[in-house]
Symmetry: C2
Subunit: 231 residues, 2 copies
Amino acid sequence: MKAVVIYSGGMDSFTALHTARDKFDEVHAVSFNYGQRHGKELQFAHAVCQMNDIPHQVVDVRSINSLIQGSSLTSNIKVPEGHYAEDNMKQTVVPNRNMIMLSLAVGYAVSIGAENVVCGAHAGDHDIYPDCRLDFFAALNRATMIANYTPVELHVPFIGMTKGEILSHGSTLGLVAQDYKWTWTCYNGREKACGKCGACVERQESFAQMGWKDPLDYEDSEFWKQAVANG
Amino acid sequence: MKAVVIYSGGMDSFTALHTARDKFDEVHAVSFNYGQRHGKELQFAHAVCQMNDIPHQVVDVRSINSLIQGSSLTSNIKVPEGHYAEDNMKQTVVPNRNMIMLSLAVGYAVSIGAENVVCGAHAGDHDIYPDCRLDFFAALNRATMIANYTPVELHVPFIGMTKGEILSHGSTLGLVAQDYKWTWTCYNGREKACGKCGACVERQESFAQMGWKDPLDYEDSEFWKQAVANG
């Protein structure tokens, strides 16, 4: 059985990639360049796929930004700081992003004869992103099973897990903290991770929950504690 | 209520555009440039929107062709001739095309505050394209209703109609045969419509069923009769 993994280059999809390799015979990775200011994650994704001999496609979908607007991830709006649970995190929503990425990944799966698409969406995304919830994936799966001559099944192995639990699951696959130095999470694409955006806050919280030292360097490695307390 | 119409420039989506204008307060059109050899349809779409004062977006999605392969509509494979019911028409399938276009249109709808997306898929497509069938749209609609903060409803007003019935419906909106000179159907993008591809055959059949003279010029305006007899 073959699978296509939607691989952003972050810690969740990195773990999803390893989960898929454990489960399926052949794994292909696909990443999307949608003009995210944290385009650095794509470099990390590429490096990981090279190291692991995983075929990797980066699809340039920047042209759709003329159509779909309104997210601080692809515009000049400042990325909000703090915990995901806060209302200002809604600024990071790209309208219908997951459905778009999943529909492209399913098209790719059909093209290469893969029966499965894996997405690393997790419980921590639920508050902010409606298209990261189980009922959305379940509904979309009913469509992907009948949209083409061959059914494609969607897999969201982390849909009920926090980021901390994803790390814990990664450890059962043999992953260690240092492996995550090849993952990029920060919404700002600077040299060091900012430590203050929602993604950085949640990442640092998850490493603390796991009792691991995060191998990434942060501009501010203390901010997250207060943000979690406020969140 | 606002609606986004997926507008290819063909006769079905042209009629869908007019149907949407009849039903909704504000209509926006979106077309996709996926490198189709019949790119001429986009020029027709643009002209119609200009004449009717309809905001029109053309989205360049050619970059996804590196990901999704295998259709004669976007490659060097010759477009097959004859009736749609024939097996060789499967060559015209772009993997997961409708889900991709619908997911982009839904993203656009969310961006502009539209609650509806209209697609002109019809009964004649069912044999060949799984993603033109009602059960697919019904499943996908359950996903688009919950994928974003605001629900988006999919409308497929022609899903139970043949192309002939679509023309008949168009006539109830006041459209006449001559209005369809601003629609392009042929899968080949030459000066005249070829008359022999599946799209041309079906179009000519539908005009005959309606008792209308097709205002388009054809390279071969007789071929379709034999193809329908064989189909």
